[in-house]
């Protein structure tokens, strides 16, 4: 086994040493915990909440699906603004086709607004 014949042997050895360096302490810690320190599980220690309070209820609660409305209205008001600003900046140099295209986009969003309005979602209850 000559190092000149196997130029990557050193790399392989270094790699093995690096892995051993990383895994060695982990294995030692695992062995120490396994053989010397008794596990003491308990009600509090196994509790999931770490603020001193006891957790209440179930973590598997359902979120209301009506929140999609907020997503739609956010899209109408916020995304529209993002597209309106470059539209306004480039307005004078726009071709007729581009103008119609952005108008269609605006009308689509406006339709969403009209829909939300008619359903009464904009009324503060």
């Amino acid at each position: 086994m000559d190092a000149n014949q196997h130029p990557y042997l050193v790399l392989a050895l270094l790699m093995a040493a690096a892995v051993a360096f990383a895994l060695g302490p982990l294995a030692a810690a695992w062995a120490w915990a396994r053989f010397y320190s008794p596990a003491k599980p308990g009600k509090d220690k196994n509790g999931i909440y770490e603020c001193g309070l006891e957790s209440k209820g179930d973590a598997w609660i359902q979120f209301r699906s009506e929140y999609y409305l907020y997503a739609i209205i956010f899209l109408v008001f916020d995304v529209e603004t993002i597209f309106l600003l470059p539209f306004a900046v480039a307005f004078t140099s726009l071709s007729a086709g581009a103008f119609v295209a952005i108008l269609v986009f605006l009308l689509l969003l406006l339709e969403g607004l009209v829909w939300a309005w008619r359903k009464g979602f904009l009324v503060w209850k």
Partner: protein, 203 residues
């Protein structure tokens, strides 16, 4: 086990010998991670102790952990109200062993100036095994550092075998202490008789 004389003689020649116990305790004592846990004004002094002027990091104890799972030391810094006491005990129960408690300030020791208050616990040592108590109202950061050094000496002197071994190696040491419940007039139980041994006053 190597003799102290031989050990120091070898050290003069540049040969350092140690025991696994000393190494283990040396590592433990110099990496005490406290729980981020301030209850009242003492917590301000605790924060000051961890800042640049007093620099708790010199003792390896600057890593204040926000989760009890990662903490070794609970510094009960401030007045423990009866509303808060079950939470304190529960947090202590959630800490992994070996775990230590410093009662910082007169409130944590005995209730301090609020001892007569109906809602104040008269010392956290009623529920938790306190290792070091720091008197003062509030104690200065130097006092907290002194308490930490005292705790370090206590850890360094612990044997890995025998009845005094740290809780993580001792199955007999309870991992959890009973959490008091809110009763009609007081916490129930009002103390943990296994831990709380008030001095008998002889007249």
């Amino acid at each position: 086990m190597i003799e102290e004389g031989l050990k120091s003689e070898l050290q003069k020649q540049g040969v350092y010998v140690t025991t696994l116990e000393d190494l283990y305790n040396w590592g433990r004592a110099n990496s005490i991670w406290p729980l981020t846990f301030g209850l009242a004004c003492c917590a301000i002094e605790m924060m000051a102790a961890s800042m640049a002027r007093f620099d708790l990091a010199r003792f390896g104890a600057e890593v204040f952990r926000p989760s009890p799972r990662q903490a070794d030391l609970m510094i009960v810094a401030g007045t423990v109200t009866k509303k808060m006491a079950p939470l304190v005990v529960r947090l202590y129960n959630q800490m992994p062993e070996p775990k230590y408690v410093i009662a910082m300030g007169s409130c944590a020791i005995s209730g301090g100036p609020f001892k007569q208050g109906y809602n104040v616990l008269k010392g956290i040592d009623r529920y938790l095994p306190v290792d070091v108590s720091i008197p003062g109202c509030p104690p200065r950061p130097e006092a907290l550092i002194h308490a930490l050094m005292t705790l370090q000496q206590k850890i360094l002197a612990q044997k890995l075998t025998g009845p005094d071994r740290p809780g993580c190696l001792n199955a007999a040491v309870p991992g959890e202490f009973p959490v008091p419940a809110y009763g009609e007039h007081d916490l129930e139980p009002s103390k943990n008789p296994q831990i709380w041994h008030p001095p008998l006053i002889k007249r």
